[in-house]
């Protein structure tokens, strides 16, 4: 199952590259002016490619609320995802996302620019294949493989530290959003050794839990996606509800910054480590 999906991803993306009229054999000169109009693309470009070859990333890459490597994005020219901005940079590679504005992507393709699209990563396999696809397109395959190797090592370590307990975890974000098994966050939760309350509630990708559902589910661990700094909004009010405050005394609470597990990259190892710590704490509590 896993390798089939990974293979499919590679075939699709290679076909896409060829279909762009690029006809790029792998040994051709790597792109020199990479423009990314998608946050995950930004992060991969900044982590894999040499700085000099990055022409522009989105404004989100330098925003600590969305980017785990905001400091690294400082000084890189910024775009807001609009086609005319992209054109101004004269890119030889554009990295978009599956949910980037269709009109923008269609326009760029029609004008003959090479565009690769990164899908939303829903599993560790997706993470690996996306790193490979991006690395291939940017001409930095070795850096890509090295990143994957390091990540795998971290994952192996985390898995080996698991004990037999499987505490029940619930991720609770603004508006009560919670990830199911078929998401990157959900995969990491499973990998860290948790059962996911969202799955029990029938949520497969992303869904919402009411406060009552959360409380009645009686999780052992509640994981909040911390946003620093948190701008005021109704979505965040629910996280400050007195009912949750009361719960903090009886349940292990962990906070994983949202940027750490939104996009493929080495930072998800950091997220995994934080989850492992929480699981260890919960496991201790369960035993007593």
């Amino acid at each position: 199952m896993r390798s089939q999906r990974a293979n499919r991803m590679c075939i699709v993306s290679f076909t896409a590259l060829v279909a762009m009229g690029l006809a790029v054999p792998v040994s051709a000169a790597p792109p020199q002016r990479i423009v990314s109009i998608n946050i995950c693309g930004d992060l991969l470009a900044l982590s894999l490619a040499p700085r000099a070859r990055i022409a522009s990333v989105t404004f989100l890459a330098a925003d600590p609320m969305m980017s785990p490597i905001a400091a690294a994005a400082q000084g890189v020219p910024v775009n807001y995802g609009k086609a005319e901005e992209v054109l101004a940079f004269e890119p030889d590679l554009v990295i978009a996302g599956r949910y980037t504005t269709r009109a923008t992507v269609a326009l760029l393709e029609r004008l003959g620019y090479p565009v690769i699209e990164l899908d939303v990563a829903r599993s560790l396999d997706d993470v690996r294949s996306q790193i490979r696809v991006a690395a291939l397109a940017m001409g930095v395959e070795q850096a890509g493989e090295a990143m994957i190797a390091k990540l795998d090592a971290r994952i192996r370590r985390a898995v080996s530290e698991r004990d037999k307990t499987r505490p029940l975890a619930a991720v609770y974000g603004p508006n009560g959003f919670t990830p199911g098994a078929h998401t990157l966050s959900g995969s990491l939760i499973a990998l860290a050794g948790f059962d996911n309350l969202a799955t029990r509630a029938g949520i497969q990708t992303w869904g919402s839990l009411t406060l009552e559902q959360l409380l009645m589910g009686r999780p052992d661990v509640i994981i909040f996606e911390a946003e620093q700094p948190r701008a005021p909004a109704l979505a965040n009010q629910i996280l400050a509800h007195p009912a949750l405050a009361d719960l903090r005394d009886r349940v292990t609470v962990a906070e994983v910054p949202r940027p750490l597990w939104s996009c493929p990259g080495p930072w998800i190892g950091e997220a995994l480590d934080q989850l492992s710590v929480a699981r260890a704490a919960a496991g201790q509590r369960l035993r007593h």
Binding site: L211, E212, L215, A231, A233, L234, N236, Q237, H241, P242
Partner: protein, 344 residues
């Protein structure tokens, strides 16, 4: 006239009937309040908790009951009472059965005021800023409509003035949400324009209730003036009621109560339109007597709609404002058709 109108020596049946109406409404409200505490998915475990039938994890159940169910039911009651009372007061003052806080621009302007306070972070530092923002918005919106439509306006002028203020306020609210720093803000317009009572806490009750109570107090005292107003402004003035003072108290009363209510629950529409209209025949069409009845009726209807929002949907809850709009909009059309038939 009003609550105290209970003369035993007068043989009129109206007095006894009025007490009966109020009592029934109060009982209905209490019944719905209790139902609201137990409605929804966690119904069965909560019932077990109260019947002492060995509920598992009573601590969590109590937590749900005290911190989620109770504030929600309380808020539904006081918000509903506010909307019913303000609607009755506005209809009495404007002598127009189409007046209600939503239609005369008070609710949407209050939403704008609250939005500014919330999304700029003012409410984070100073929680009372939220209801105060709503109150300021409501008073400004009402003043504008009253300026545009005046006291002796027909239905058409009033509706038009209300539409103007509503549109403007909604536009400003959208703008404010768009410019807000939080990425969630733009989507939250649904809450502000439709209203919801989901996941409210005692904190919301605490910051809004004092202002609502003051507003109720101001409005309930106006019962006699509204009665006098039914025979015309000049006659009312000659009966000793200052029209300027009446207008000021109306503005303040509606502004305080509706402003605070919208700040914590969004703009819930149509309660203030439907409830006074339904209850008016039951209180002998007296505007003063309608005030307390409408408050109780508003509480009852809002509680019922909130229960409906949780029970009627198999999936996620419906927004409260959707339900009240589904009840209220056809009712509004029916009112308009009736008025057209009466005055062709």
């Amino acid at each position: 006239m009003g609550l105290g109108d209970v003369s035993q020596s007068h043989p009129s049946e109206g007095v006894g009937r009025y007490c009966l109406v109020l009592t029934l409404l109060a009982l209905l409200t209490v019944g719905l309040f209790i139902t609201s505490l137990f409605a929804g998915r966690s119904a069965v475990p909560l019932l077990h908790l109260f019947m002492g039938a060995g509920a598992e994890d009573p601590q969590t159940l109590w937590l749900i009951f005290n911190e989620i169910r109770l504030p929600r039911a309380l808020l539904a009651t006081v918000v509903g009472a506010t909307l019913g009372l303000a609607g009755a007061a506005l209809q009495g003052y404007l002598r127009n059965p189409l007046a209600e806080p939503g239609l005369v621009g008070a609710s949407s302007a209050a939403a704008f005021g609250a939005v500014v306070m919330l999304y700029t972070g003012a409410a984070t530092w100073f929680p009372m800023a939220l209801p105060l923002g709503g109150i300021a918005g409501a008073i400004v919106g009402l003043s504008l409509v009253s300026l545009l439509a005046g006291g002796r306006s027909g239905a058409l002028t009033l509706i038009l003035a209300g539409v103007a203020v509503n549109t403007f306020a909604a536009a400003l609210t959208s703008l404010a949400l768009n410019l807000a720093p939080s990425p969630y803000a733009a989507l939250e317009i649904v809450f502000w324009l439709l209203g919801s009572l989901a996941d409210r806490s005692f904190e919301h009750v605490r910051i809004a209730l004092p202002f609502m109570v003051v507003g109720w107090f101001l409005l309930l005292r106006l019962g006699r003036a509204l009665d006098a107003l039914s025979i015309g402004e000049e006659a009312a003035a000659s009966l000793g009621y200052s029209l300027g003072r009446l207008r000021g108290l109306m503005l303040l009363g509606v502004g305080l109560s509706v402003g605070a209510s919208v700040a914590v629950s969004g703009a819930i529409g149509f309660i203030g339109l439907v409830v006074p209209h339904l209850l008016r025949p039951l209180v002998g069409h007296r505007p003063g007597a309608l005030l307390p009845a409408s408050a109780l009726g508003g509480a009852a209807l809002t509680l019922a709609a909130d229960i409906g929002a949780r029970v009627l949907s198999p999936g996620p809850e419906l927004k409260l404002g959707v339900l009240t709009a589904l009840i209220g909009a056809p009712f509004f059309l029916y009112l308009l058709i009736g008025m057209r038939r009466a005055n062709p």
